[in-house]
């Protein structure tokens, strides 16, 4: 019996083992890393040493508050431009010249969430002059000068919160927009959150940009129903003069939006005839509302930023703009609102939608003229969905977010949930190709892909999840971008590379449109910084209005002066250092031991000022932090700090 039993048990075990083995064998292999590339992909992204990339890609840093400039196709990081984030690496936000850039009505803020890069345009085509980028958290827009790759202007946006649908441009960059993602009580007030429907409003700001100086100012704000205005794009060609904003949360939820703002089958795209609104405003319509917000401008002549306080803003209620604004129903929680190169089609990406709606501008105008409406919201007519629709892209992937165009009749939509890029024909709405993204793609960028003239050669997928793409770096990983060749019928993955922060969007442009305007040095003769010195002979130390001012000249490889005495504990000391070089790529740096401040880097011909309040007596070395020459290590000096009331005369010696 025991024998039989053990034989039986043995048989059962054998069968089980066999089952397990066969199961193991059948377990489907999962290909997560994509096809191994075997063709000529490597040569397509290989840029020979010393050669230039074909395109600049400006990739937003998201929560890093910066923008990164990459060379494409190589994917080489060229420069990180600080915008909303302080940058101790070069002193941005720490030097006296740049501190005002980060001023807001809440005081100085060392950070923001920079989402959408937008190149300035001329005739609907990127012109390489400026790059705009929004600050999402404390609503702001910034302008970067692409001749110097420096942030030269930051404008705060009042009555706004979560400045997300920003800073999209008109075809001639006479306006950029700032649409609020969080609705708020206008002139922010203390109200119960549950009074959302009555007290909260959206605000869409139209910011005028001066053609020559680039200076920005809020021209007017449209006060709208309290939806979440997510993304936007201006019309072009036939639709020039219109702006399209996607909006979700038409449910007007104020808690658990994940569920409560996902109830309706349709949210909206808001179409605004902003030219008409601007004319209306120009006729004196709208009201000036008291407000207070910061306008920070970096003057390239004095190399100094100043904050101007703006005390009022022109607002107008959407209900007063009869015939200028229309809601177009849009399948579920749209993200992108993208206009094709011809300006005829408006594509919205409904995050939770099963189709991508493609609206026809011509049909929209007919629907307006034919009064094909379905009621109104707070005085804004709602057009009939079908009346505006050119067609729907069927089976576009799950979670379609954002669409760009190649200028050859095709659109490319990122699908977050199904983690892929979907290529479809704009006229026929047929999906013609799809390619996986690794993993969970957010935005995508084709050079000029949202303009009248895309350079449809590459597509960059910017992904939200990185996982196993690169060597692991602990729990916190870099973000990942993939470069896709779109020059042929089939999309082809070329390479992937890590990116800074969390890219939310990028813009790209042929390199020569940027390189031709590059500044190499600041001309010393044109340096109007009030603290500049033009030769080492002017180096000196002075006590003025209770502070010590040190005028330093830096030239390879010494400071003039380099021995300072007579400073006392607790005094405020300003080091005004001028880099007297006039040669390309010879920056000097400056740092002082124990300074509770950053260092600063000074470019040839530039003057920067670093503050120091010594808290103890002693000898403090200062030195050049940027390896400037063979004798860089000798570029140093000493500062003597004496106790308060000490009788050491204020002197500056050394150097030449």
């Amino acid at each position: 019996m025991t024998n039989m039993k053990s034989i039986f048990t043995g048989l059962v075990l054998m069968v089980l083992a066999a089952l397990i083995i066969s199961f193991e064998g059948c377990s489907p292999k999962k290909d997560t890393k994509g096809p191994s590339l075997s063709g000529d992909e490597a040569s397509k992204v290989y840029v020979e040493p010393g050669k230039y990339d074909e395109f600049y890609y400006f990739i937003s840093g998201g929560f890093s508050g910066q923008v990164a400039a990459y060379g494409i196709p190589s994917g080489r990081l060229l420069r990180v431009i600080p915008v909303y984030a302080v940058n101790p690496e070069n002193g941005y936000g720490y030097t006296e010249e740049t501190k005002p850039m980060l001023m807001t009505s809440y005081g100085s803020i060392p950070w923001d969430d920079s989402h959408h890069a937008e190149l300035s345009q001329t005739d609907g085509v990127p012109d390489g002059k400026w790059l705009f980028i929004n600050g999402n958290n404390t609503p702001r827009v910034a302008r970067i000068d692409l001749a110097t790759f420096r942030t030269v202007e930051i404008l705060e946006v009042p009555n706004s919160a979560g400045n997300h649908s920003s800073p999209f441009t008109t075809p001639n960059s006479d306006y950029i927009v700032a649409g609020t993602r969080f609705s708020l009580p206008i002139q922010n007030k203390d109200v119960p959150i549950s009074s959302y429907k009555e007290n909260f409003k959206g605000a869409l700001s139209f910011i005028k940009v001066d053609k020559t100086t680039g200076n920005m100012g809020v021209d007017f704000q449209i006060i709208t129903p309290p939806f979440d205005y997510d993304l936007s794009h201006s019309g072009k060609g036939p639709s020039d003069g219109w702006f399209f904003f996607s909006c979700y949360n038409s449910e007007q939820a104020f808690t658990l939006l994940e569920v409560n703002a996902s109830q309706k089958d349709k949210d909206f795209v808001l179409a605004i005839n902003y030219r008409k609104v601007a004319d209306f405003i120009a006729q004196g319509k709208g009201t000036m509302m008291k407000s207070r917000f910061a306008h920070n401008v970096f003057d390239e002549k004095t190399q100094t930023a100043t904050t101007n306080w703006i005390e009022e803003v022109k607002t107008i209620n959407a209900a007063d703009l009869k015939g200028m604004m229309y809601y177009i129903p849009c399948p579920k929680s749209p993200h992108g609102a993208d206009v094709d190169p011809t300006g005829e089609y408006i594509v919205a990406g409904g995050k939770l939608a099963a189709v991508i709606p493609v609206y026809s501008f011509t049909k929209m105008i007919k629907a307006i003229e034919g009064n094909q409406t379905d009621g109104e919201i707070d005085g804004i007519p709602v057009l009939k969905y079908e009346a505006c629709l050119s067609g729907e892209v069927q089976n576009p992937g799950l979670g379609p977010l954002h669409t760009e165009f190649d200028g050859k009749g095709f659109a490319y939509t990122s699908a977050f949930v199904s983690s892929e890029v979907v290529k479809w024909n704009v006229e026929t709405k047929e999906v013609v190709d799809r390619i996986p993204a690794y993993y969970s793609i957010g935005h995508l960028t084709i050079p000029g892909g949202d303009s009248k003239k895309p350079w449809g050669k590459y597509l960059l997928a910017m992904n939200k999840i990185t996982k196993d793409r690169y060597l692991p770096t602990g729990p916190e990983l870099t973000q990942s971008a993939q470069l896709i060749d779109i020059s042929g019928d089939k999309m082809k993955l070329l390479s992937d590379f890590p990116t800074i922060g969390e890219p939310h969007y990028a813009q790209a442009i042929p390199a020569e449109l940027i390189t031709k305007n590059q500044v190499r040095i600041y001309k010393l003769a044109e340096n109007m910084n009030p603290f500049a010195i033009k030769s080492p002979k002017e180096g000196r130390i002075e006590r003025k209005d209770g502070a010590v001012h040190v005028y330093l000249g830096a030239i390879r490889s010494h400071f003039t002066p380099d021995n300072l005495e007579g400073i006392t504990v607790g005094e405020t000391v300003y080091f005004h250092m001028t880099n007297l070089e006039q040669d390309w790529d010879i920056p000097h740096g400056f740092a002082v031991m124990g300074n509770q401040n950053s260092e600063m880097l000074i470019m040839p011909g530039e003057t920067c000022t670093l503050k120091w309040v010594p808290d103890r007596a002693g000898i403090f070395p200062m030195y050049c932090t940027d390896f400037c020459s063979a004798l860089h290590q000798e570029m140093q000096g000493y500062i003597r700090v004496s106790e308060k009331g000490a009788n050491v005369p204020l002197t500056a010696t050394g150097g030449n």
């Binding site: 390879r556 070089e581 006039q582 040669d583 063979a630 004798l631």
Partner: protein, 184 residues
């Protein structure tokens, strides 16, 4: 007619650089250079002066170079002389003019050499970089390695104007000489 043209060619030297010094080094892929004009020096003078301070070379200050002040007048005289020669057609004047051109050229070369010698040898004893036995005199014409720099010294457009003017004068002399010997 040819002499008239030759004299006018010399006038081109007012508008074009005469000589050029080029400096190549690994960290200057864009190449540094300075051009010597009849009345001054242009180019990357500040950068070159900045680099020269390492080896203790004097600062090159065009304002302190006396020759650059008088050369425009010497050139004016030569042009005028040439024009007078062309108009009068006197053979003696032609010989004299050609001789003056040659002398001016040689004198200019010697002067340039002396300046180069002075800059290259008259080095600050407290120079940052001292290489025993090294002098930094650039070549009169041609190329020479000076530490990490290769210095090239070359005639520029103005010099070619002068060469052509001289050659034309010589051509006329030879032609005249041949035709006169035939007559004999």
């Amino acid at each position: 007619m040819i002499l008239f043209f030759a004299a006018l060619l010399l006038a081109g030297m007012y508008f074009t650089p005469i000589w050029e010094i080029l400096l190549d080094a690994p960290q200057y892929p864009e190449r540094l250079g300075m051009k010597i004009h009849i009345d001054g020096i242009s180019g990357d003078l500040n950068t070159i002066n900045g680099l020269n301070h390492y080896i203790g070379m004097k600062v090159i200050e065009p304002d302190s170079i006396f020759e650059l002040k008088i050369m425009p007048y010497i050139l004016g005289f030569l042009i005028l002389f040439g024009l007078v020669t062309a108009v009068t057609g006197k053979r003696m004047l032609l010989y004299l003019w050609f001789a003056l051109l040659v002398i001016a050229g040689i004198a200019g070369g010697i002067d340039f050499y002396l300046w180069e010698y002075d800059y290259g040898h008259n080095i600050d004893p407290n120079a940052i970089i001292k290489v025993p036995g090294m002098n930094y005199q650039p070549p009169l014409i041609g190329s020479k390695q000076l530490l990490n720099f290769t210095a090239h010294s070359l005639p520029d457009i103005g010099a070619y104007f002068a060469f052509i003017a001289g050659a034309l004068a010589l051509y006329v002399i030879i032609r005249e000489w041949k035709s006169s010997t035939k007559k004999v």
